[in-house]
């Protein structure tokens, strides 16, 4: 069994300040973890993925995430927010069933203040 919890439903930051979106997971297997982004009226796009290689994963648009097994966390960060980062972000865990076995978090809505 696996689950994922996104700890904040909304996060608001000012443009140019750091972004932190929090995600905790549980999994009976060695998980693969993903962050997806959904811009308004668009489909989801993969930001980055962890699949048991380096624990610090770099993604597109300056985002990165660190896999911490001891804390069962996979938080998403970006040093400096841009207005175009305003979107919905989903943390996803896979228990090894390939694309079939994905569990999506409920999403975090990121708001960027000018």
């Amino acid at each position: 069994a696996q689950s994922v919890t996104q700890l904040d439903s909304h996060v608001s930051v000012s443009e140019g300040t750091p972004v932190l979106l929090r995600c905790n997971y549980s999994s009976s297997y060695s998980p693969s973890l993903f962050w997806y982004v959904q811009h308004p009226n668009k489909g989801l796009q993969l930001l980055l993925k962890y699949t048991s290689a380096a624990t610090l994963v770099k993604g597109i648009n300056g985002f990165e995430a660190e896999f911490k097994k001891s804390e069962t966390s996979f938080h998403l960060t970006k040093p400096s927010a841009h207005m175009s980062d305003a979107a919905e972000y989903f943390c996803v865990v896979s228990g090894g069933g390939g694309a079939d076995g994905l569990t999506f978090g409920k999403g975090t809505h990121l708001i960027i203040q000018p």
Binding site: G43, L44, K49, S52, G98, K106
Partner: protein, 114 residues
């Protein structure tokens, strides 16, 4: 070239009508999915097809019937539409084997039932 394309992008219809959404992927993936996203952005898997074979069929009313004529296409037909069917429906494709778990999403079809 769009990787996962779904049509139509918007549907507005009356209760009791029947409607279809079409999806096509040109990524050579062996598995395609339908997801439903509600007004709170929560994503729920509905169906998964692998090489035209139904793999996942979550608890979905039997008014929803997926059809996969070949592994590049997955259509969704909905009979006797109800108000609660109003949502955004996403098609996605991926690979069932391996640990990649990366999905490619279409831009969504927003269904409004009046």
């Amino acid at each position: 070239d769009t990787a996962v394309s779904q049509t139509p992008k918007y549907l507005v219809t009356q209760m009791g009508n029947d409607k279809s959404i079409k999806c096509e992927q040109n990524l050579g993936h062996d598995t395609m999915y339908w997801y439903k996203q509600d007004s709170k952005k929560f994503l729920k898997i509905m169906f998964s097809y692998n090489n035209k074979e139904l793999i996942i069929n979550e608890t979905v009313p039997n008014r929803f019937s997926p059809k996969s004529p070949d592994k590049a296409h997955l259509n969704l037909h909905i009979n006797s539409l109800e108000l609660g069917d109003s949502a955004v429906y996403f098609c996605a494709s991926g690979r069932r084997s391996g640990i990649t778990g990366e999905l490619f999403f279409g831009e969504g079809s927003r269904l409004t039932v009046l």
